[in-house]
């Protein structure tokens, strides 16, 4: 059988970075081929070259054995290559049909107008083929993220002869049921002979759906192995080029230590319903649940980012009123958003500006002039302590990897000397190597006596890190599980316990 795609000796350089160095890749019809590597390994770049988003410097691409030049996304589409980018790339103000047919709208006979009824029909056909229940006329902005993801897939596959579908982290924002739905579609495409390239950091998913895995590191090809016959550990060690130290399970704090944060009867509309919990000094409290269970909302409410309907919050035993994030910060509460780029960092600014952003007051002469020396000294200290890999303190944050960006957000709250830290999906979009460093850091922070609340949708992460686990479903806390008795099954059971099935 000829591969549909063969990539050989591919090189691509960006200013100052060698993104791809003699990379290679091969894809057969009907195959799900996982592409793995740490962030910055060149997976996305390689696939963007194949999809015509970037142009290669040298090397060759063969489609069905024929050498091809792919200069822009349109040419890739003509060759039957579709891509679903890591960030959703949809026009939220436009309908499903408009999104799917952007760039090749069917015209009326005169050629002047768009043939809207036909566009709806064609869209319906595409959706039916994928067994998707969506209305072509709905505005994309009104859909859930999962449905939007489906629109992306439909868009990528709507071209007459889609033979290759590239998915870059398609499950990052999906819950388990939605992931199952996605995998069903992938299985279906597979049986139709579509070759699928699947980029993901989630090991368990790869085991479930991929046939082969190609590992990349530092822009180079490392190896291609059959998924079924290769252990996770082998793949990970190929990715990082070393064996990772397992930090082991959570260290249970010695005693029932002092309660630093107590939340009572917190309510906010339909998203937070009578939430009660305490966090102790030196513990990591895990918040588990499905997407949209209300965990982020609780964190935001405690942090003063959203108004609540009712609820009492006590910090170190004292009743406090938190109306704005500024109040929370003053009380030593820090919140690390799940969306670092949007809410956590000023990505256009340099490392040192970001690190001191939340504690400016400490670095001012006469409340006005910046103390440059002090800022740099503090930053240098934290860069060293957290092992942030950056060429200098003046590096723009946008140019750093996800793991290092996350460490900068952590540094920001440590400079502010926060004792209570909410981590919302702390390892989202971070590769395995950096993940274990973040875990180490969280453990260290807890040992220093800080109280940590960790919200995570990844169960293995919750189980590995938390001393205690609270599970939420539809705005309510449905149960508490100690580290000792926690299992994935137990947590999932609580995470799906809806109001009607509530027992007591």
């Amino acid at each position: 059988m000829t591969p549909i795609v063969t990539i050989r000796h591919l090189n691509k350089t960006f200013p100052g970075v060698r993104a791809l160095n003699d990379a290679q890749f091969e894809l057969f019809p009907g195959e799900v081929h996982a592409l793995m590597g740490e962030n910055g390994a060149g997976k996305s770049t390689l696939m963007k070259v194949l999809a015509g988003v970037y142009q290669k410097d040298s090397g060759e691409i063969l489609v069905n054995g024929q050498a091809v030049e792919i200069n822009d996304p349109r040419e890739a589409q003509a060759l039957g290559i579709g891509i679903i980018h890591q960030e959703l790339n949809l026009m939220s103000h436009l309908s499903v049909a408009q999104n799917i047919f952007i760039g090749r709208e069917p015209r009326t006979r005169s050629g002047l107008f768009i043939d809207v009824p036909r566009m709806w029909r064609d869209t319906q056909e595409v959706l039916d083929r994928l067994h998707l229940t969506l209305d072509p006329r709905t505005l994309v902005g009104d859909l859930t993220v999962a449905k939007q993801q489906m629109v992306e897939i439909a868009k990528a596959l709507s071209h007459a002869e889609s033979r290759v579908l590239i998915m870059d982290e398609p499950t990052a924002a999906l819950n388990n049921a939605e992931i199952d739905e996605l995998f069903r579609i992938i299985g279906q495409l597979k049986s139709h002979g579509v070759g699928i390239v699947y980029i993901s950091h989630k090991m368990d998913e790869l085991k479930r759906i991929s046939d082969r895995v190609t590992v990349m590191r530092d822009g180079q090809y490392i190896a291609t192995v059959p998924t079924a016959e290769t252990s996770m550990e082998t793949i990970i060690s190929m990715m990082v080029g070393r064996t990772l130290l397992d930090t082991g399970g959570p260290q249970v704090p010695a005693e029932q230590s002092e309660v630093v944060l107590e939340v009572r009867n917190l309510n906010r509309g339909k998203v937070i319903k009578d939430v009660n919990f305490v966090v102790r000094k030196g513990e990591i409290l895990g918040f588990a649940g499905l997407m949209g269970a209300g965990r982020t909302e609780v964190a935001r409410a405690v942090f003063g980012a959203d108004k609540v309907d009712s609820g009492d919050i006590r910090v170190r035993g004292e009743k406090v009123s938190i109306r704005h994030p500024a109040d929370a910060v003053r009380l030593g509460i820090g919140y690390l958003s799940e969306d670092r780029k949007r809410y956590g960092l000023a990505t256009g600014m340099d490392v040192s500006s970001n690190v001191v952003l939340a504690s400016m007051k400490r670095f001012l002469w006469s409340q006005f002039v910046l103390k440059r020396q002090a800022i740099r000294a503090t930053c240098a200290q934290f860069v060293k302590q957290l092992e942030i890999k950056t060429p200098s303190l003046d590096q723009k944050v946008a140019l750093l990897s996800g793991g290092n960006q996350q460490k900068i957000v952590i540094a920001k709250w440590l400079v502010r000397d926060c004792e209570i830290l909410f981590f919302d999906e702390p390892t989202r979009g971070i590769d395995v190597g950096a993940k274990s460093e973040i875990y180490k850091l969280l453990n260290a922070l807890a040992q220093q006596g800080r109280a940590i609340v960790m919200i995570s949708s990844e169960l293995p992460e919750i189980l590995r890190m938390s001393h205690r686990i609270l599970v939420m479903c539809e705005g309510r806390i449905t149960g508490e599980v100690s580290a000792a008795e926690a299992t994935q099954e137990r947590i999932m059971q609580l995470a799906t316990r809806r109001e009607t099935a509530k027992s007591n």
């Binding site: 996304p73 790339n89 026009m91 103000h93 309908s95 952007i102 760039g103 006329r137 505005l139």
Partner: protein, 331 residues
């Protein structure tokens, strides 16, 4: 007017905009008219209504041009002085060179499109932010209009048909009771045409798409730069028509006019519910917005409110309109 009402089924029909946004603006317009007609009996008289319609024509046409640009999440500050520049060019072709009437009309539209093409190229190819690119063009065109005309008005006395563009009434000729000037007819024809283009054609589709998510459009294989230039060129051509309307009404090209018109046009677009962040907007909303501004100006004048206070009220209304729109969206 809206094609959305026939589709009952899911949320909204494909190409329609938010109907409620238009209703809000429309209700404010009706409210204002009721208020002024109660406050002053002369408000509702035919002469006054025709006056309002006439006064809306130029701003309405400029606002149509701005609607396209603003939906792409761009801005065009040059529409006012471009309008003047185009009327001066019509004067050059007709009065200076004595060319036939239609050549002057085509010249005005051509120079409008040319200027839009230049703005679009600066924005798409040279990556100059729309605000800066069109601010620059605004000053360039203002200067050029003064230089070419020698800072003096150019009168169209040799081409008597020129004034009929704006001032005579085709409708009044057919229906003597309705002496609606041609300028208003042109505004409505253009509004309907622009609405069709915005909602039914590829040009309109990309106008919305660019404003919604430009990067997504690029990654879909669409030549984003080219379409941006097309949209600015199209808007420029519309400004050329506005130039003809105003020159025809004044029977002269007034080179010192124009600056400030862009703000009225943008205000009309914003009052009409088009978001400055792009992706949504309607021509109908814009036209209603333009009428709200002229009804307000006219009504306050009839009530003998001082000119200075009229400006204050107009400003407050713009802020109020956008605030109301935000409130509606956050629900």
């Amino acid at each position: 007017m809206s094609e959305s009402t026939t589709q009952q089924k899911p949320k909204r029909a494909l190409f329609s905009s938010n109907t409620r946004q238009k209703l809000l603006a429309f209700a404010s317009l009706i409210g204002l008219m009721v208020f002024f007609s109660l406050a002053s009996p002369s408000f509702m008289q035919t002469d006054n209504i025709v006056g309002i319609l006439q006064a809306t024509a130029v701003n309405g046409v400029l606002a149509i041009a701005c609607t396209f640009v603003i939906i792409t999440s761009g801005i065009d500050l040059s529409v006012g002085t471009l309008m003047t520049f185009c009327s001066v060019m019509a004067g050059v072709f007709l009065t200076y060179w004595g060319l036939p009437f239609y050549v002057g009309v085509l010249a005005a539209i051509f120079f409008g499109a040319l200027s839009g093409f230049i703005s679009g190229t600066l924005i798409a190819k040279l990556k100059i932010p729309p605000f800066i690119a069109t601010l620059g063009m605004m000053l360039v065109l203002k200067g050029l209009a003064l230089v070419i005309s020698g800072t003096k008005p150019i009168y169209f006395n040799d081409t008597p048909e020129f004034t009929s563009i704006s001032q005579e009434s085709l409708i009044g000729y057919l229906l003597p009771d309705l002496p609606i000037p041609n300028a208003v007819l042109i505004l409505f024809v253009m509004a309907v045409g622009a609405s069709l283009i915005l909602n039914k054609t590829v040009l309109g589709n990309y106008t919305f798409a660019l404003g919604s998510n430009e990067e997504a459009v690029r990654l879909s294989g669409v030549n984003v730069d080219r379409w941006k230039i097309v949209i600015y060129t199209f808007a420029g051509a519309i400004c050329g028509i506005a130039g003809l309307l105003i020159a025809s009404r004044l029977n002269s090209a007034q080179p010192s006019l124009g600056q400030g018109y862009e703000l009225d046009a943008i205000a009309a677009v914003v009052i009409g519910g088009t978001s400055l962040s792009g992706g949504t907007g309607t021509i109908l909303g814009t036209i209603i917005g333009a009428f709200i501004i002229s009804v307000l100006t006219n009504g306050l004048r009839i009530m003998s409110v001082a000119q200075e206070w009229q400006t204050v009220v107009t400003g407050a209304i713009i802020i109020l309109a956008v605030f109301a729109d935000n409130m509606r969206k956050s629900k």
